[in-house]
Amino acid sequence: MFTFTEEQEMLRKVIREFVEAEVAPKAQEWDEANHCPVELFPMLGEMGIVGTFVPEEYGGAGLGFVERSICLEELARHSAGLAITVMAHQLCMGGILNFGSEEQKKKYLPDLATGKKIGSLSLTEATGGSNFMGQKSTGEYKDWQWVINGRKCFITNSHLADVDLWTVITGQNEKGKPIMTAFIIDKDTPGHTAGRTEHKLGLCSSNTGDVSCVNVKLSPQQMLSQEGDGPKIALSTIQEVGRAGMSAICLGILRGCLEESVKFSNERIIYGKPLNKLMNIQFTIAENKLDYESAKLLTYRAASMKDKGLLCACEFALAKYAGNEGAIRAAKRTIDMMGGYGVINEYPIGRFLRDTLAGSTAGGTSDILKVVIAAETLKR
């Protein structure tokens, strides 16, 4: 049975205090203004929230994925947009931490872990995210440097990132299959530019858009790991950092739905009694609770497996699937319960539904997750 340590319980308490003071009061305003609150990043860095799993020697908090999940759940409870901004930033740090050279770690991680700089991972192209081997961006080695060309889309932190991890095709192997390689690109590198900004259904307080490279010239020192390691970097980062983070974010939204449903049903008086005295409303509360607790167990179990170094790709797929689908159900149920109030933006429940729908693609859609789960299950 998974239980939290006393330190983890205290971490949740202090992060919750911070989020309730600094995030909750502004979350709706950020959403309505499509504003990503990057101004909070230095504070998030100081708190150890952005660099949770980065070792202390590189400026992080030196904690694990359970603690990271706690922080993301607490952020997403009030602002899933801010939470996915942090999560995408951590994709960049995860890639550098797990695959970078010592020199690259020392150069990039301290500023990223303390929130002084923002990171992103540019993997997805118009051909799709899950089919990343089909990407068209290229890297060509000419005159002792790599020349990168291509366009990435649906990139979180596209316009904010100071450090951008790119995957490109750098050739073909003897079987004619593409060789994918990853690079670290600094913000002001000539030819590296952010393009259009997407207007999304939800997660509006995060930034998503295109990033292009036109004859971007990089020294070989900017390559992450070795040529051809791109798929390993992409898969590991997406599955164990991205999907793991999205599981916790969905969990935070789900808890938001649960807590809003409890609050509303306690306060709303109908037929002279609180709404929660009606049995059908109790069913809604019970179903929201079940969805939250199920996703919570799956998320923290997967995170604790990751901390123990166990294989956990299937477990994170289960967690994200349960969290995302559970949040969609819980938000819909809660809106139904609230009647007219449910569709008024003064209440956050509509935002929770939009956020969880928009979050369904990050870290894999439910259908992709089912493929991952089935593949692992059928293998046994």
Binding site: M10, V14, M47, T52, A61, G62, C71
Partner: protein
């Protein structure tokens, strides 16, 4: 100049749960079962003031609390915020203490823990709100004190210049160290506790001291040492008493005014120019 600072904190029920708190009529105490505890909010301001002094001048910050064993959580949180060590004064014999017995126990605990240049507290607790402990504690310690301090600076190494909030004024004082200051909420904004702080806290020293450890006079501690006793406690009925008035609208209005007057409420007299 290194400062040895003590901060006295209290573990109080989380104010967000106040509506769930009930009073046990028999024991005349509040029922805290299932109610989470937190550090008394203004005590965090006292701790923040201590941490700022330590950052400026160096030294050590020790947090002290008299409470049941469960309050270790609040002490670890104080250490996560930045305090160097903590002491919990905990013994069944301390139970039922009023402010005088509490302040005596705290004083004996502080005397046991060492010599402090400065003792900081919050002005009052969020639950009892008597605001008596700071002054009583200073008296037991035989040191000068100020209450409701909104700002202070060092005038010399041994003197503080403090501003004290009063009803319609601000008093300015010079106070000699060692001294006790009870600080108000406006003195600072307590820092957020970081993830790194949380993880370091468990590696710091938390000492639990019982009645034998701190050399107390047993007649001055707990309920025995408390001159204040709760009187009768009753829970007022908030039920509304309805009454139907029958008649024409004018008759009902006349009856209503008569009842309001009988209850001591005088309907406003019509002023000139108010119309009919």
């Amino acid at each position: 100049m290194k400062l040895n600072i003590a901060v006295c904190i209290k573990s109080v029920p989380d104010p967000e749960w106040y509506e769930k708190i009930t009073i046990d009529i028999k024991t005349k105490t509040i029922t805290r079962k299932g109610i989470p505890s937190i550090i008394n909010p203004v005590d965090k301001n006292a701790l923040e003031a201590a941490l700022q002094l330590k950052e400026q001048f160096g030294g050590k910050v020790t947090v002290v609390c008299m409470a049941p064993p469960g309050a270790t959580n609040e002490l670890y949180e104080a250490m996560a915020m930045g305090a160097d060590e903590a002491a919990l004064l905990s013994d069944l014999a301390f139970a039922g203490a009023d402010t005088l017995a509490t302040s005596y126990t705290l004083a004996q605990g502080l005397n046991k823990l060492g010599k402090f240049d400065l003792v900081l507290t919050g002005t009052e607790s969020a639950d009892g709100a008597t605001a008596q402990v700071p002054a009583q504690l200073a008296e037991w310690l035989k040191i000068p004190h100020l209450w409701n301090v909104k700002e202070f600076t060092f005038a010399t190494e041994q003197e503080l210049h403090a501003k004290v909030k009063m009803d319609d004024a601000v008093g300015e004082y010079v106070i000699q160290l060692p001294a006790l200051l009870a600080v108000s909420r406006e003195i600072n904004k307590p820092r957020y506790t970081t993830a790194m702080g949380v993880m370091k806290a468990r590696k710091k020293t938390l000492t639990i001291l019982n009645k034998n450890d701190i050399d107390v006079n047993k007649s001055l501690i707990g309920q025995v040492g408390s001159p204040t006793w709760s009187g009768d406690i009753s829970i007022p009925s908030l039920a509304r008493k309805g009454q139907e008035l029958i008649g024409t609208p004018e008759e009902i209005a006349t009856q209503l005014i008569a009842k309001l007057r009988a209850a001591g409420i005088n309907p406003a007299k019509r002023r000139e120019g108010d119309g009919k």
